[in-house]
Assembly symmetry: C2
Homo-oligomer: 581 residues x 2
């Protein structure tokens, strides 16, 4: 903001605070939750421009909101998420989460970065222009995620440093997922740690270290990493917080850790702790909510409401050094939520930077950002496939990826698939499906094929170009021909997700922007997702979020066994392993 604009806004804000000029908006008669003392204060809230000017009795404004019977909270701040999992462009994402009280998000645009590099991130940010939600960026640090993945782009330490220097919305560097490499002092990882020094103030580095413990955890922290959203047990989360990590308790569509981790907060308070969603399906966003849903569930699990509140507001703001965010207090941004019930957190009204943006569950006004540029379309490049491409030669026992509902870690299972004509087959009767990953950025046709258990599929196949982290095509099926049809369909639509049975598309969500994002309204996307999920259940699918589960099966930095276009990866020992034992 230019000097004179800043100064005149400040001048007016002070006049409003003093009561010398009417506020732009006054929320009257409510109780304000102080995130600083954990109290409820009887106070009006006076807003001037984009900021809260004053709290106290008797403020008058050009506009008044009757807050009697309501509790006034700061807008929620999401400390770690991948926008791409919602499949929504920023404007549609805002339409989805503003009614739930989320007014600021810190994203790791990791999926777009894997497809298009940091130019894709810049283009994505440009589509958020004018959308009434603040989107900050932690710069994707691990593109590609590992040497086993074939991404569409590579992001170097120099590019990260440049992005941090130039982009005002860049706060630091995103989850350092290759935690073994960081702990081991791998030079490329150290170069990225060093790149974080190019940011504003001291390095700000998100972590990602499932199960990391003891000396390796110490080494990871010694490198300057300061957060983790991958804890799954109380023991793990306690060790990490003791050592100074900011704990992001994740409760998303696929990975749900709140119940396991809430004892940390019950026993040691909320210090250094926040909630996040990491990855959310659009239909879950509409049906369940966002950060409000996680806070609500925390309260149901015994967390004091004020502790839940700070974990969704002030503490993520503090962690990310967003000093004007996370509180309803003079000098803070007027990101405000009014709720009828402090234990429920469902907003009656939401303001972003002083502007009413949602009311009783609906976004207010025409929220629309610029369209994505054309070069972000048509990014799924695969040769036409047929059933034969999914044939597997295997004579005995094979490694099988074991998937569990609600977990992104997998287990290594062993099984002996049935055979026909020398080829190993899927076997729906014992929940044994095939899984394949097809390189799609450069049209090489390279693919890895293996087996997976846990989807419950009885017929057909599912495929997606949303597949961490390289976002190649991942396909799971019990019918080789249907598997081929899914991939061919994605090439046609420019990517997204699709379910096929007996040669026909039975459900799909086209995501033509990089194969990751839809260009449709949130309601349409959510409905397509819901319909597709139903179609998958009709095929016998038993997972709650089959596509999100699938999207993690190509991610080579999460234990124990994953698959990429290069084959099966033992992600504990970080090496490719053969299908047959």
């Amino acid at each position: 903001m230019a000097g004179e604009e800043f100064r005149s806004g400040l001048r007016r804000r002070l006049a409003v605070a003093r009561g010398d000029e009417p506020a732009d908006l006054v929320l009257k008669g409510g109780r304000v939750a102080s995130v600083f003392t954990g109290e409820l204060l009887e106070a009006d809230v006076a807003v001037s421009g984009q900021h809260v000017a004053g709290l106290g009795p008797g403020y008058e404004g050009r506009e008044t909101f009757d807050a009697r019977g309501l509790t006034i909270l700061p807008g929620c701040l999401e400390g770690h998420m991948h926008l791409e999992s919602t499949k929504l462009m920023p404007d549609q994402f805002a339409r989805a989460v503003l009614p739930h009280g989320t007014t600021t998000v810190v994203i790791d645009p990791h999926e777009i970065a894997n497809v298009f590099g940091l130019d894709g991130v810049r283009a994505l940010l440009a589509t958020a222009e004018g959308v009434p939600i603040d989107i900050f960026v932690m710069v994707s640090s691990c593109v590609p995620a590992s040497e086993f993945e074939s991404s569409g782009a590579t992001v170097t330490a120099e590019e990260i440093a440049g992005f941090l220097r130039e982009e005002p919305r860049a706060l630091g560097i995103a989850e350092m997922m290759n935690y073994p490499a960081v702990a081991a002092g791998d030079e490329d990882s150290l170069a990225k740690i060093e790149a974080a020094r190019a940011g504003k103030g001291p390095p700000h580095i998100d972590g990602h270290s499932p199960g990391l413990t003891g000396r390796d955890l110490n080494a990871y922290l010694a490198a300057g990493v300061r957060s983790d959203h991958e804890c799954t047990t109380y023991e793990e989360v306690l060790e990490k917080r003791r050592l100074g990590m900011w704990i992001m308790i994740r409760e998303g569509s696929a990975a749900r850790n709140l119940e396991a981790l809430i004892p940390l907060v019950l026993q040691h308070g909320p210090r250094n702790t926040m909630v996040c969603t990491d990855d959310m399906e659009p239909d879950d966003l509409l049906a369940e909510g966002h950060i409000d849903a996680v806070m609500r569930k925390a309260v149901r699990l015994g967390c004091p409401p004020h502790d839940a509140l700070v974990m969704g507001t002030l503490f993520p703001a503090r962690y990310h050094r967003l000093h004007e965010y996370g509180a309803v207090a003079p000098g803070y941004l007027a990101d405000i939520v009014a709720v009828p019930d402090l234990e429920d957190f469902r907003p009656a009204a939401v303001w972003k930077r002083g502007r009413l943006v949602a009311s009783h569950g609906e976004a207010v006004g025409d929220i629309r950002g610029p369209a994505a540029p054309d070069w972000m379309r048509g990014s799924v490049r695969v040769p036409e496939l047929s059933a034969a491409d999914f044939a597997v030669r295997a004579n005995g026992r094979v490694r099988v990826i074991g998937v569990e509902s609600g977990q992104i870690v997998t287990r290594v299972l062993m099984d002996e698939p049935p055979r026909r004509d020398g080829g190993a087959l899927a076997d729906p009767a014992r929940d044994l499906a095939k899984i394949a990953v097809v390189e799609r950025h450069r049209g090489t046709g390279r693919m890895g094929v293996g087996f997976v258990r846990g989807f419950g599929l009885q017929r057909g196949a599912l495929a997606s170009t949303y597949a961490h982290d390289a976002h190649n095509v991942v396909v799971v099926g019990v019918d080789d021909a249907d598997m081929a049809t899914t991939v061919n369909r994605l090439a046609e639509t420019g990517g997204g997700q699709v379910a096929v049975s007996a040669g026909s598309v039975v459900g799909e969500v086209p995501c033509p922007i990089g194969g990751l994002l839809s260009d449709r309204p949130v309601e349409e996307v959510a409905s397509a997702v819901a319909h597709m999920h139903e179609a998958v259940r009709d095929l016998g699918g038993t997972l709650q979020s089959p596509f999100m589960a699938m999207s993690f099966l190509a991610l080579s930095v999460i234990p124990e066994l994953k698959i990429t276009d290069r084959g099966l990866v033992d992600t504990v020992r970080f090496e490719l392993v053969p299908l047959e034992v």
Copy 2:
């Protein structure tokens, strides 16, 4: 730090954390206080270079410290103080506070800035070069403190912005003392608020707002001010914290607010709260301690030790955005204190950036910084004075500054002084002394003379060039000739503090550096101060810290009645008032 140096330090730190290389130092067998969970952890602490590399069992190092029976704490961080009140150069200050566990201080070099401007601040920082303590600066924002004061320098908004841009140790802008002007939207104050945007990251602005409440407090906060160290009552401190201020509970040599304010922490926990000293006499530092003494007293007043601990370590670090400070954890600076007793906080050993700097109450090694440049000497410019210069014409009732022990606010009293030859006189029998302020930067000889109650002086006079904020000569006495002698002596020594009785110097602390800082070792300075205090008691003085009390009597931004070289100032209405009622 250059790239390659950073990288090689990081590489080695990780190797130490992993246990692949021996640490430089291991503290073995102690219990580490986690400021993140409030627990005591059985863990060795491995140090690599200037950082903590790892916490855990079995670390080995080139050097080992036997920490059995000891609790390991982070070094204390002083969040707000004026170094000048200690009269010590940085190296001697370090020698005084390192044995008490203070390893980092954030100073407002306000006194030096009032005498020499920001060039003085740069020169002061240069004398800290190589001294094993981290000194950060909040740039003095109010020089002069008000239009009623005649300082040696003026610091403009442009200079503040320049300093913030250029000086890596500058964190933000220091206490905005003219809080009425800020709240009122005075343009010069707004210009300084705007200058804070030149810093690293979002504006970081310390406050100073004794008794400020309601809408004016809201306006002050709306301007972006985020801390206060001037609270004196529970009601005040609660209102301020509710509104988002970081509370600095002050417990210094003159102003002691801990007992009144600790209920805030007992009732609402330590969030947004820290302890600070603001101003400390050197003898108090040696005898009582520093931040450790405040934490100790907090525990005596019922504060849980872990709450006291975070208020002296992690929380001031967080407030000041010093993200590598305030914890003993991997990746944090190895600023470490080992104490036998967690409720007492008296260190057995202290390390700064991994180096042993104090042991059992004594500084270790030769701690010495560069000398101050010659231009900082000889700054007391006053004409030779005589008794006649202190004569007061007054025929009836006069305003009297009422001083109370342990408070820097004063009361407006009224009295009718005795008269002789048409002049109003001091009257020791009813504790009525004269007070004068003599301009000393430009040799104008301008002086204001008035009356003060509360010192208890029966004979002689005291004078000091350490007088907030303009640091002119302030002199209190019951004998006009002795008053003249004190001022003439200070001109001779280059400034400092002096007590005179019957024409002779009975105690003094020369401070030739700007009239503010001694060039002598801390023990010598403390002993001179103690001797001088004794001399003052011999003169009948009853205040515990008469010179510190005196130093606030010329400060025109603290209620209610003060005096400058321009005369009496009503600091509530911010205007000059006549002596006679």
